[in-house]
Subunit: 410 residues, 2 copies
């Protein structure tokens, strides 16, 4: 099936900057997709630091197992990504695919296999024809270029309807550094494929431990706030590579004030990519932001925000442009988190809808209808029991989702 570009897509892919020390090449493996590149090879300059976060799904793919295993070494020389087969639930053969691929790339880069990261996205349970990747790598090495970021972002897509990129510049100790990244994922999930992948690149020089802390922090407020359908993938991976080629004075730790601007810029890039994933949610016609305040903790607020964002009843109501606020109340209640029914408040698009345990006296449905008809929906809930806050980004649940996931056999 061919998918139409999401109506929520941004105007275009950003001008992807060259990051000194990062080179890309892409090619077609013939594994599953025709007429497009489906393998990405990235090379990093010696001394590149790496940070990573991986899916919490207990059935991770072999590439995730491998990434977790090699991350403690802290340095990266290469990255190989393939789209079409996820290398998940593939037994010992799956890990052999990963180590064979890492070793093949390591030879070409005169690096160690433990410095080569692998990511795969696509069908679960099918073996990867490893040879189709490894035989392609020597050709890709010849084509490595600092200018191929756009092609790289495209090569990792599966059922995405647009390539997702984001870029920011910032300063560390007086030096200008760049952060650029791309991501894939049509939500957390995709038809018979399943993955959210995000790769971020910077020329900043940042110690590995600080880099990991910055990525983990930022991940909590970006990718971990996105949901399309509550089905978390077996392959979710976000990696941040820092080449150090900007030669900024090295910050000491993640809390070094010199990293303040970088932290802000990293969150900007990751939030942008995360929102683009929700905007490409399967069948999405509206982008939804859920803000929760007044919870007993930030973690509690996040659970409530995700309960709302994952509720099929809330998401179908929004698809139907129906300000069916009772479903939001239901979702707050089903979250299992503390909330004061009789003192909470609910707003949609800034319109006060519920307070004092009932519909607000001032509320008229007509007031919120123009907002419901728009493409950007804002839900604000204050649960009136504390100071915790959080947000979630999601999309509505439409016939398009059913079409993509049920009507077409894989």
């Amino acid at each position: 099936m061919s998918l139409q570009k999401s109506p929520l897509a941004p105007d275009g892919f950003p001008t992807f900057p060259e990051i000194p020390g990062v080179r890309f090449a892409t090619g077609n493996s013939g594994m599953r997709y025709k007429g497009r590149d489906d393998v990405l090879l990235a090379e990093f300059a010696p001394g590149t630091a790496v940070a990573g976060v991986f899916t919490k799904n207990a059935m991770p793919g072999a590439p995730v197992d491998w990434g977790r295993r090699i991350l403690p070494t802290g340095s990266a020389r290469g990255l190989v990504v393939n789209a079409g087969i996820a290398n998940v639930f593939t037994g010992k053969a799956g890990m052999k695919t990963v180590t064979d691929t890492a070793e093949a790339a390591a030879v070409l880069f005169q690096a160690k296999a433990e410095e080569i990261y692998i990511a795969s996205t696509g069908v679960i349970g099918e073996p990867v024809p490893t040879e189709k990747i490894t035989s392609l790598l020597p050709k890709l090495v010849d084509n490595l270029s600092t200018a191929a970021g756009n092609a790289a972002a495209k090569a990792i897509l599966t059922t995405d309807t647009f390539a997702k990129g984001a870029v920011a510049k910032c300063h560390i100790n007086g030096k200008t550094v760049t952060i650029a990244g791309f991501a894939k994922g049509s939500g957390m999930i995709a038809p018979d494929m399943a993955t959210m992948l995000a790769f971020l690149f910077t020329d900043a020089a940042i110690p590995q431990e600080a880099l990991q802390q910055l990525l983990s922090e930022s991940n909590e407020k970006s990718f971990n706030c996105v949901t399309v359908d509550s089905d978390s993938s077996t392959s979710d991976t976000a990696l941040l590579f820092a080449t150090g080629t900007a030669e900024n004075a090295l910050p000491k730790a993640a809390d070094d004030p010199a990293l303040e601007d970088f932290r802000r810029a990293l969150l900007t890039v990751m939030s942008d990519l995360a929102q683009q994933i929700a905007r490409d949610g399967e069948g999405a016609s509206k982008f939804i932001t859920v803000n929760v305040t007044g919870a007993i903790s930030d973690a509690s607020a996040k659970t409530i925000a995700l309960a709302i964002a994952n509720s099929p009843l809330v998401k179908t109501a929004i698809a139907g442009e129906d300000a069916n606020w009772g479903r939001i109340i239901m979702a707050v209640g089903k979250s299992g988190e503390k909330a004061d029914r009789d003192n909470m408040t609910l707003k949609i698009g800034g319109t006060l809808i519920a307070e004092n345990g009932m519909k607000a006296a001032s509320y008229r449905e007509a007031d919120v209808m123009p907002h419901m008809k728009g493409q950007e929906i804002l839900i604000e809930v204050d649960v009136a029991v504390g100071d915790g806050s959080a947000f979630a980004w999601t999309c509505d649940l439409t016939h398009g989702y059913i079409e993509i996931n049920a009507d077409y056999r894989s």
Copy 2:
């Protein structure tokens, strides 16, 4: 909108037996529905014991608050149910509706208000026009009949496409007793309404404490195993009324061997009703049973079973008659529960599909296709870490669900 009868509906409503001590009457309140009864009044003989379980949703409706409050008194004389407005998130007015209704029925039955149970199902956040219920009650009293079980089961429906009833006979200390019940719910949820209600009646004489224990136990293995879309209602209520009119020798406690047959029969009736709710899930075209074994505990197994049963990707795959087993693996993994990826097994319709961390060597998709095309789907997962087991019942996720919940404005 008018809904077509679910293709998974049973052949018909059972012959609903007369339970001595239980009388029903139904009428139309003019509150929301036209051309059908939407209020049920039930009267119970003096001395009727009652047990109840209620939603865990933290935003319960006023009738749930009331039921929880009066349940410790342990005896019941009446029940008033209305369909159309749920009396949820209605502030102080909501509780006044409940107490006014209970008091009106109590006067008619020469009982205490605290002996009258109330249940409401329908729209959230709208006030109930109490007078439309209370003014109807005197007329209903005149029509009370032991033979009106079928009409009673119909009067409580909202978007259900069929009335749900179940009956069993059993023995306690040599006496034959009857258990009969009816339920409503198109899943846990319904368009802009939200409720699963179940009412069970028996002529058995059983002490209240034992009755409560039997109901709670059985609830865990019946209604609490059903999910349509993970959205738990603000009104879920199951009540079991025992008139004692069978005059069996009184069992001592829930673990009295004299109650063995009753326990089995109660579970049969409640399981039957629970399955009928999944069979009437919004848009359902297939009934799905998920069996999980080998978990570290029964509770862990249930979390895994519900993760599978609630996964939109699993449910859409089944709607598409696609044996997309990778999605089941994903759902096991996202449950957060312990499972051994490399030793778990997965069967669909009895066909072994995955083992040893990969697709089973013997598996051919053609083997499972006849099962996928049927109306009853069986998923069996053994997660290979312990002896815990559980099951869940659900339905597939189809265009019908989107149509019911998004395409029609409330």
